[in-house]
């Protein structure tokens, strides 16, 4: 165990060293990190490694089993692709944040205890926020702050759950948790927030489209998939997840239909795909867990591919990403267009593409469990995927109306990154046995049967027919520049309301306090405290002086000296102070 390192360490330490390396070596160095990490990873045997004593607990930085290994492999692959895609980025903030973010994700999946799990979980948020802020626009800044606040709330919920859970069980081991009682519910919700469950989801659709072109590729891969991993580890077979997952697949597709920003369409699509995974984890059979995990792997690849193709479109078209501004780009960006179509075919589960071999496992598991409603919700959602990701994304960017834009093809490194992702989308779809051999449980499922291929092809072609007829008849919703309010309305408008209420109440109080205390009261206290010592002092002293025979000029001189001594605070107070001190000492001694 001396020749291998914890997977997270390579990325985090490697990332921190990036600013020290200058010039052309930087690109090579950054690409080397996931490669070195991968060689390191395949040399780690299954089992428990890097156990560190911490107070009375053991921290475990290497819980290596088939579930964590598969996530480890795909995280290394997608890191390599994302780094290659971002190789032109000179901004070290993004380069370091991307690598630490990937390292934190590896930390999460290999954590064997809840404490180190939580630390890496929070590092995910901290690192990813810089990929949003690095866009350096007002919208990105706002979305980043909201992202941070929402995740901070989710993190606190998770922490509260972990503290209660450890207190109850006496163990910090991260294994099966199961839903029973408050502690586990809080952990469940903490996971759910990162998983973008319905109503907890708007951080994703708010922030991802505002992140940098290259940052979104990292973002699309890690946070939600870490949450899927955590649910698969802690809550497999939890019935609530079946329904949560089904709702996740269904509701975002309605938003995706009317959304104008294509990266936001993909963000809704991301929630929809994670829904299939959550549903599979909820079903909890071996086939369902296999389906969920393999779909996570495939989704990381095809979602990154779609985000990369949209990123290339933005990169070559002055950051234009709205349907209303794009169209007809296949003419001059044919390779990007082909990559986008491969991604679209994969997410739509076209036979021979990756979605076909993984999504169907979850659906078959639902059918095997006789969950008729769930099965048809998932089938409906599959049609919805076709609408927004399968057709809308490529159609509005590369076909549709001719926007007149004739940009150059994407740069070579972006095409290479997209090419690698596209290769794996087709490879996993056409030769699923390699992917299946890495899954947590033995696979008996056969995706390529005649009825499955024909049924799925019918689904795709007749959905496409519906699209064509709706578009030709002018019944498709017109693309328009607008925002669609979502659950984030509650805190975005609620935040504004809170601000106004606080403004009126607190600033009102401040204004009143300013007028009464600063304007009136302080002035009068000041005047009184200046005037009264003089009045009191002279009131006592003048009769005293008169009695002792001081008169005329001498008396006036004494009054004048006293007055000026009081005004300049130079009156002789030494004796009174000494007496007061002695008095206090006496009281202290007597008490």
């Amino acid at each position: 165990m001396t020749d291998v390192l914890p997977p997270a360490a390579i990325f985090i330490i490697g990332g921190l060293l990036v600013p020290l390396i200058k010039g052309k070596w930087k690109s090579a160095y950054m690409l080397l990190i996931p490669v070195a990490g991968f060689i390191n990873l395949i040399n780690i045997p299954e089992g428990t490694h890097w156990v560190v004593g911490f107070m009375e607990y053991n921290l475990i930085f290497g819980k290596v089993d088939r579930l964590s290994l598969l996530f480890g492999y795909i995280f290394h692959l997608i890191s390599f692709i994302a780094i290659l895609y971002a190789i032109h980025v000179k901004d070290d903030v993004q380069n370091v944040a991307g690598l630490i973010y990937a390292g934190s994700a590896l930390g999460v999946v290999f954590a064997g205890d809840l404490f180190s799990f939580f630390v890496f979980w929070e590092m995910l948020t901290i690192a990813s926020i810089f990929l949003i802020w690095a866009r350096r626009t007002k919208a990105a800044q706002g979305a980043g702050y909201r992202y941070l606040l929402v995740h901070a709330a989710g993190g606190l919920c998770l922490l509260a759950g972990i503290v209660l859970y450890v207190n109850q069980t006496g163990s910090i081991e991260f294994g099966y948790i199961g839903l029973n009682g408050l502690a586990t519910l809080l952990i469940f919700l903490g996971f759910g927030l990162n998983c973008a469950w319905p109503l907890l989801h708007p951080w994703l659709t708010d922030a991802y489209p505002e992140a940098t072109i290259t940052g979104t590729i990292f973002l699309s891969a890690f946070t939600t998939k870490c949450a899927v991993y955590a649910l698969a580890r802690g809550f497999p077979g939890t019935e609530a997840l079946i329904w949560i997952g089904a709702i996740m697949t269904a509701f975002p597709i309605f938003y995706a239909v009317i959304e104008n920003n294509l990266r936001r369409v993909l963000s809704y699509s991301l929630i929809n795909q994670v829904g299939f995974m959550v549903c599979g984890i909820g079903i909890g059979t071996q086939m369902a867990i296999n389906g969920a995990v393999s779909h996570a792997v495939n989704d990381i690849l095809f979602k990154a591919l779609l985000f990369m193709s949209m990123g290339a479109v933005m990169y070559r078209n002055d950051n234009k990403i709205n349907c209303t501004a794009l169209g007809g780009l296949y003419r001059t960006m044919p390779l990007t267009c082909i990559c986008c179509i491969i991604g679209a075919a994969s997410i739509s589960a076209v036979p021979l593409f990756s979605g076909f071999v993984s999504k169907s496992m979850v659906m078959s598991a639902a059918a095997d469990g006789h969950m008729q409603i769930i099965y048809f919700v998932l089938l409906f959602a599959s049609v919805g995927v076709l609408e927004h990701a399968g057709i809308k994304i490529p159609f509005f960017a590369f076909f549709g109306h001719d926007s007149g834009l004739r940009p150059k093809e994407a740069p070579v490194h972006m095409l290479l990154a997209m090419g690698i992702a596209a290769f794996f989308c087709i490879f996993n779809g056409s030769f699923p046995s390699y992917l299946y051999s890495l899954l947590p449980y033995p696979v008996e499922y056969v995706p390529y049967t005649v009825p499955h291929v024909v049924g799925q092809t019918q689904l795709i072609f007749f959905a496409a027919l519906a699209f064509i007829l709706l578009t030709l008849s002018g019944m498709s919703p017109a693309e328009m520049r607008a925002v669609n309010i979502d659950a984030d309305w509650f805190y975005r408008k609620g935040g504004g309301l809170f601000y106004r209420v606080m403004d009126i109440s607190m600033n009102g109080l401040t204004r009143v306090a300013d007028r009464v205390i600063v304007g009136e009261l302080t002035g009068s206290i000041c005047r009184i405290s200046q005037r009264w010592p003089e009045v009191l002092c002279l009131g006592v002293m003048i009769p005293l002086w008169s009695v002792t025979g001081v008169k005329g000029k001498e008396l006036e001189g004494k009054i004048e000296r006293t007055r000026s001594a009081l005004q300049t605070h130079t009156s002789p107070i030494g004796i009174s102070a000494a007496i007061a001190t002695i008095f206090l000492v006496l009281i202290y001694l007597l008490m």
Binding site: I258, Y330, R331, G384, P451, V454, L470, A482
Partner: protein, 86 residues
């Protein structure tokens, strides 16, 4: 961007002939898929999947229902001006 070139140059889908080939092959595939149904042995999970052309009808109806409900129900409820949150 070179507008003087792009005005004249005809790309793949600008040509009516290629659009015609695309449209006919799509229609042919639809017919093929409708016919193919009767030559395969289905493994339905639920009784409704045994209905003839179930997936074709389901996909078409679901797609239209999705698009129209998003257009006529969801959009009027949630659409706001672009500067709504500013």
């Amino acid at each position: 961007m070179k507008p003087e070139n792009s005005e004249d140059k005809k790309y793949l889908f600008d040509k009516p002939a290629s659009m015609k080939i695309l449209a006919w092959s799509f229609l042919l595939s639809l017919v093929l898929l409708l016919v193919l149904e009767f030559f395969i042995h289905k493994h339905p999970h639920f009784p409704s999947e045994e209905w003839p052309e179930f997936y074709c009808v389901f996909a078409f109806v679901a797609f239209v229902a999705l698009v129209l409900s998003a257009k006529y129900i969801l959009r009027p409820l949630v659409k706001r001006r672009e500067d709504y949150y500013d």
